[in-house]
Each structure stands twice: as C-alpha cells, then as structure tokens.
C-alpha cells in the first residue's frame, strides 16, 4: 500500500516536471500554436446481431463543447456518453505540435433486424459547428455465423461452417403434467462436437409461474458424458438444473433457455475465384482450415407444462399448498411454567417437496399469552433429485396471567404424490399450567392489582333460545279474540252479580230489623206472660230470668242491636243514640238493676216479685209510647 502511494507520488512529480518543461519551452519558442484541421468522425461496427451490444465512438481532435447526440430510435442506448481525452505535444525542429483527442463513447444494443443508420452528431469547436459522418449498421438475426465482436475486423470476410448440428442446447423436464406445487426438475444439457469454453449460462430462462431453486448453484465444473446421436459423437454436459414448483395450475410455457459460449470453429478464407480447380484446392481444409474462437448464442427448445390443480375432493380445510412427502411434529420445552417465563413451541416440517414455500401453521393462542412472530429456519438440501429438507417454526410464548391453558392441536395437511391423496398430520394438544411467578414488582408489569379491560376477541350473535317455549297459532292474537272478550265480560258479570247480591242482602237485613222491631213488644209481652205464670206459682229464679230476658230481648229487637253487643255499661249509650228520653233510660236501667238485685233484696218475696213484674211491664209500655 505504502509502496503504491510512493509510486503515485513519483508519477505526479514526473508529470509536474513535464508540464513545467512544456511551459518553459512554449515561452522560449514564443511561437504561435498552429491550429490543426478539426476532424470529427463516428466509428462503429457495421454489422451486428440482434441482441448484441456494441460501441459507437465519436472522435474529435479538438476541444469541443455542446456535443449533440443524434436521436436514435432503432437501437437501445445502454450506456453513454462516456468521455475520454488524450493529448500529446510534439516538438519537431522547434515546431510545436499539439494533439488532442476527445472520444465520446456510447454502448448500444441492436434490438431488431434490418439496416439502420446512426445519424451524424454535432459539436462546436470555437463556436464553429462540426458534423460527424453517419454510419450504416446492418443488424442480422442469425446469431451463429457472425463474427464475435471481440475478434474485431479480423473476422471480416470469413464464414464459419454451420454449427447447428455441432452445438445445441436441450431442455428436459422430469414431469410434464405435475400437480400444482409438485416439484419438477428441468435440466439444460449442452450437446457439442466442438471444443467450447467460457460457458455463460447467466441468461438462462426465468420461470414465470414457478418458484425455482437452482440445483447446481454450488458447482462450477460441468461433468461430461458422451452420447451418440445420428452416428455423431457428442460431448454432453448438464449446464443448468432447476427444481421448479408450479405456483398456478393450467398450461405454462417455459421460454427457451439462452446460453453463450465460445466455440472453436473451423473457418475457411473466402476467396472469390472463377477457377473451380483452384477454388476447391484452396478451400481444402487441409490447406486452408484454421480454428477460430467464435462467440455463440444458443437457444434451447421451449417446454410446455400442463399443471393440474390438486384435487378438490377430500381437500382438508387448512390445506396450504404443500405437495410432496412430509412429516410434521411439534415440541414444547415445558408445560409447567411461572408467569413471565418464556415457553418455546417448535414445529418441525421435514420432507421432500416445496418445503420453503410453506407458511407457518396458524395457531390460535389463548389471548392471555404474549406470542412473538415465529422464528423460521430452513435447512434445505439440494440434490440432483430435487429439494428436500426441514423447515422449523419456533414460537416464543410468554404467559402473563396464571391459569391452565390448552394449546389446541395444530393440523398440517399436504398432498401426497404417491397416494394421490391428502394426508393430514395433527400435533398433540398441550396443557400449559401457569403459576404465579414470584418476581418482584420491578420486573413484572402485571401485578395482582392491575386490571385489564375485557378483550373482545370476536363478535357474534347470541345463542338460540332453548326449548321448551310457548307456541301459538300464527296470526292469532289474544287481543280481540273470543277469549279476550270473554275475560273482559266475565268480571263485569261477576261484578254485577256481586252487586245485586249485596244489595239484596242489605234489603233483607233491613227487613229483618223492621220485623224484629214490630215483634219486639209481642215477644217481650209473651215472655212477661210466662213470667206472670211463674209469679203465680211463686218460682222466684225463673221469674227474674224471664223478666231479664224480656227486657234485654226487647231492647235488642227494638233497636236492631245484637244481643251480644249489649251490656249494662253500654245500654244507656245505645238508647241515647236512638233518642230515648234520659229519665226513661234511667228508669229502664233501674228496672234492669232491680231484676238483678230483687232476688237478694230484703222484704216479702212475693211482694218484690210482683213489684219487679209491674215495673218491667211499665217501662216497656213507656218506651213503646215514647217511640211512637
């Protein structure tokens, strides 16, 4: 590094010295610089192939400005202009000769066949316009017979011998009717009888509609075999090999693969001679043959694939497009954890087929789990027989809330090519027991006091109503139905009946009262008559009982007061209400008292009995008179 720097430094020094010498000489000579004739020329190959890249150079031997590039539509401009300058100063016999040359280089690509003209370019030197020449370029389609651009003008005027049968590329497909997602292997083989080198397969077909995996990516040499075709011995080499996975069903065409290489081709100088003898003599390969390196573009055949969709019969629900032969398993590192401890849940998919294209399984974790996106690792082996390997999905789960959780089984299904049917693999169910961790508050964000809003995971309708429930006939209403009117009328009827009954009762009761009042005197007189008999017979006890009954009964019937409600205490009050005179009441009470006490009163018994009887008679007739 250091040495290089030094070298640079030395060069710079030398240049500086040269420049200073030149300036010195210029001043010394004091001779005016002779203006040279300005030449502006365009240079390019005149014959190119379609698809070939070539250079167009515009050279001017003076310092110009405002370079104007002609408008070109027949070619594709890949690059440019890139400018390069060179200058030289010559001093011959005191005459200074300065030469400058500016080169504007463009890289073009021929895109179509035909003869095209690159129009002239313009440039200004000291304010004067210069125009370059135009170039006619012949673009040919035939890629085989043209000389390579590298060989320059030397190849002009020579023809190469036909190489169609000596060098060709073939594409082979392992299965032309695969299922969607089934891997097919496409192989490009080169067949040659010529020595070839510099094989460049970088422009190999792209595979729209497929996911492709290069099976020979890690190889640089091409093992050769020999094959006889039509009696010719060919050297055969597999140039490219891909595992293709069709991504859609239907007919898919794979465009021809393109390959370039340098072949050693026998050439013969073309001589126009009218003499057939000489012609044949000089054209004899023995005399006139020589080998020439020719760049070749060769195309393979195109291929047509008819991709079938995987059958819809028996297609499992979560089918994700896996085709081949797989095993699917799950591993969990622990099922008894504390909160905030990480669990690793790993799903391993291995087998032959489109392993890398398979998405992570859809797992519904309990919402209280914090789950990170799965870490996906691929370990894919590429062999001549296709792609196989393992793909693991590792989930990191952190339970935040204690409890018992269930991780539902994960279902993976693939289309088995041997069985021609779907195979479903189910991983086991895991029960995860999460206990409260004992971490301190600093490392646990969820403490027992923190509350969470309820997380709504989905929205759905509520469940159906469970039987039994009451059914009724369609279109019938209780309202305005017969029952309704019946139930409306029934209470009215009951009401009416009750009312009638009640009124009747009242009437009857008042009748009884009237009757009783009427009969009151009669009854009491009857009783007194009985008392009179007892008086004659001298039955003292019976007499007083009968008089007492007669008096109480009279009051009860006369004023419609139940007998049970009457007593010595309230009789005067009751009578007052019935507007009986005070002294009559007093007399009545006196008589009542007398009947109670007369038995025990001193004196003649028969006299007392007689007196009480008379008093009772008197008071009844007195009340009778007063009420009238």
């Amino acid at each position: 590094m250091n040495r290089k720097m030094k070298k640079h430094y030395r060069y710079l020094h030398r240049i500086k010295a040269v420049i200073s010498t030149v300036i010195f000489l210029l001043i010394l000579a004091a001779a005016p610089l002779q203006a040279q004739e300005v030449q502006f020329t365009a240079l390019a190959k005149t014959a190119v192939r379609v698809g070939e890249n070539f250079q167009v150079q515009f050279k001017i031997n003076a310092e110009g400005n405002n370079f104007q590039w002609p408008q070109i539509t027949d070619f594709q401009v890949l690059n440019g202009p890139s400018t390069s300058t060179s200058s030289s100063v010559q001093i011959i016999n005191g005459q200074v000769n300065r030469e400058v040359s500016y080169v504007f280089t463009y890289v073009l690509r021929a895109i179509k066949e035909g003869e095209f003209t690159i129009p002239p370019a313009k440039i200004y030197v000291n304010g004067k316009e210069y125009v370059s020449n135009s170039i006619k370029i012949k673009v040919s389609k035939d890629s085989g017979t043209q000389g390579s651009p590298g060989s320059g003008g030397g190849s002009a005027g020579t023809t190469t011998q036909g190489t169609e049968n000596d060098l060709f590329l073939r594409a082979y497909i392992s299965n032309a009717t695969p299922y969607q997602g089934e891997q097919v292997i496409i192989t490009y083989k080169i067949f040659t009888t010529l020595p070839i080198s510099n094989i460049d397969a970088s422009k190999m077909s792209s595979f729209p509609g497929f996911w492709a995996k290069d099976l020979l990516a890690n190889r640089n040499d091409f093992p050769q075999t020999r094959e006889y075709i039509n009696g010719k011995e060919y050297v055969v080499a597999e140039v490219k090999k891909y595992a293709l996975f069709p991504q859609r069903s239907g007919e898919i065409t794979i465009d021809p693969g393109e390959l370039s290489c340098v072949a050693q081709v026998k050439t013969a100088a073309q001589r126009r001679s009218s003499d057939p003898f000489f012609d044949s003599f000089f054209n004899d390969p023995f005399f006139n043959s020589r080998y020439q390196n020719v760049e070749k573009q060769i195309l393979s055949n195109s291929l047509k694939l008819n991709v079938q969709p995987t059958p819809s019969r028996n297609k499992p629900d979560g089918y994700g497009g896996a085709v081949g032969n797989f095993t699917f398993s799950s591993q969990i590192d622990k099922t008894d954890v504390k909160t905030n401890e990480a669990i690793s849940l790993k799903f391993t998919l291995s087998g032959t087929g489109n392993v890398e294209l398979i998405d992570a399984p859809k797992i519904s974790f309990p919402p209280d789990f914090e789950v990170y996106d799965p870490e996906i690792t691929n370990n894919v082996k590429v062999s001549m027989n296709g792609v196989s390997g393992t793909r693991t999905f590792e989930y990191l789960i952190i339970p935040r809330i204690p409890g018992t959780y269930t991780l539902k089984p994960v279902v993976f299904s693939y289309f088995d090519l041997d069985k021609r049917d779907y195979v479903t693999i189910t991983t086991p169910e895991y029960k995860i027991n999460v206990q409260r961790g004992e971490g301190t508050a600093s490392n646990i964000t969820y403490s027992s006091v923190s509350q969470e809003d309820i997380k709504y995971i989905g929205k759905d309708i509520r469940h159906i109503k469970l039987p039994p429930f009451k059914l009724r006939q369609i279109g019938t209403f209780f309202f305005r139905s017969g029952n309704y009117y019946f139930l409306l009328l029934l209470p009215i009827l009951i009401f009416a009946v009750l009312l009638l009954f009640w009124r009747n009762q009242i009437k009857q009761r008042s009748n009884i009262a009237m009757l009783k009042t009427k009969r009151a005197t009669k009854v009491s007189l009857k009783r007194l008559k009985v008392a009179a008999i007892y008086l004659k017979e001298g039955k003292e006890t019976e007499l007083y009982v009968e008089i007492s009954r007669a008096l109480w009964g009279y009051i009860s019937d006369k004023f419609n007061i139940p007998r049970s409600e009457l007593s010595m205490e309230n009789v005067s009050e009751r009578l007052l209400k019935k507007s009986v005179k005070d002294d009559t009441i007093a007399e009545f009470i006196n008589t009542l008292n007398n009947t109670e006490f007369a038995r025990f009163a001193p004196g003649n018994k028969s006299e007392n009995m007689d007196k009480t009887y008379q008093e009772a008679l008197n008071i009844i007739s007195k009340i009778e008179r007063e009420l009238r």
Partner: protein
Amino acid sequence: MKKILVLIFLFTGFLAYADNNQILIEEAGKLYTEGSYDRAIEMYEKVLENGFESAELYYNLGNAHFKMNDLAPAILYYEKASKLNPSDEDIQFNLAVANSRIVDKIETVPDLFYERWWNSLIFTFSVDGWAIISLVTFVLLLVVTLLFFMVDVVIIKKLAFWTGIALIVISVSSFALANQKYNSFKKDHEAIVFTPTVTVKSSPAENSIDLFVIHEGTKVEITDNIGEWTEIRIANGTVGWLKGVDLVKI
C-alpha cells in the same frame, strides 16, 4: 255439554300438535349446536308450516340463517321475533349484530321526543302484553269499585276511589296501545329487501328515473301498492318505488 266436549277434544288435539312441535324444536336446537344450520332451519320451518309461531322460534330461525350467512332472512326473522316480543334483549342484540353486517347503512331520521317516548312505550310490550294489562287493570278496577261501595270506612273508600281512577286510565290507554299495535300487525307495513341489489325508481314504471340503490337485508316501510310495484320509505325518510318481489313482508 256437547260444545264443551268438542272444545276439550280440540284442545287435546292442539296439545298433541304442540308436543310434536316441541320435539321438532328440540331436535333443531341440537342440530344448530352441532353446526348443521340448514337442517335446523328445515325443522324450525316445519313448525311454522304446522301453523305455530313464537318469538323464540323466529329468533332461533334468524340465528340459523345468520350462521349460514343469509343476512336478509336472518333480519326478517329477527324482526318478526321482535314484533312478537319487543322487550327481549337477545333479539334486539342479534338484530343489531345482523344489521351491522349488511351493505346499506342508513342514517335514521331522529324522532321527536314524544314520538320516541310513544314508540318506546309501544315497544315495551307486545299486542297481547298490552291486552293482558288492560284486562288485569280492568278486573282490578271492578274490585276497587266493589270495595268503594261495600266498605263503610272512609279512608278505604277514598283510596278505592283514587286507585279506581288510575286504573281506568291505565286500562283504557293500554287497550288503545294494544289496538294500535294490532292494527299495525294486520297491515304488514314493514318489509326486508331480499334481492342483493335493487334500484329504487322515482315512479312505478320501468323507464322512470333511478333514485338510489338499496341492498339485501335493508328494512323498508311499505307506504303504497300499485300492481307489482310497491312504494317504500327507507329509514332516512327517502321514498321510492320498487317491485314487490324484491321484498318480504315482516
């Protein structure tokens, strides 16, 4: 006596029918829980064919249709259920869920406060609910009247008088409410759009101007009928004409 016998006979006949229906409903419930909604729908519809209905039956039918992702019939049955039992919370909830999934989102014209009150009052009970209320209050009124007449105690008399007046008001108004709901039932003036997309026209003719487009599941109010054309009013108050075949009445 003969009449009573006939009545009893009819009644037991109904019971047998009802029994059969209960079996159907139970079976349908099981099918629904298992997830075979289409068969559950068949079972429920058999009950309807037998001539029976209930809010719960319509609700379950709506649920099954909803699960089948047929929103228009789901909404239709929820609306029917809601008509029979307006106070059921589950019905209102599911109806709201179903309505949130349909294409049309129509801003409803806000009702005036008294209209709102009136509607919420009307929707508290079904026709028969109001009918029963009017009956019960009527019976109570009679009882109170009897009390008023028969009891001599002054306080009870006063109490009976005022409760009687209150009962009269309640009874009459609930009868009126029942009557209004009954009439609206008989008219079938609401419908659900069943065609995925319907262009509503300005007049009942094919060549009239297209006014707007409504979609499956939208509830409309029927305001008029001319031949095969029906005049509708959507929730925001816009009126237009469409063909009656696009609608199913609630």
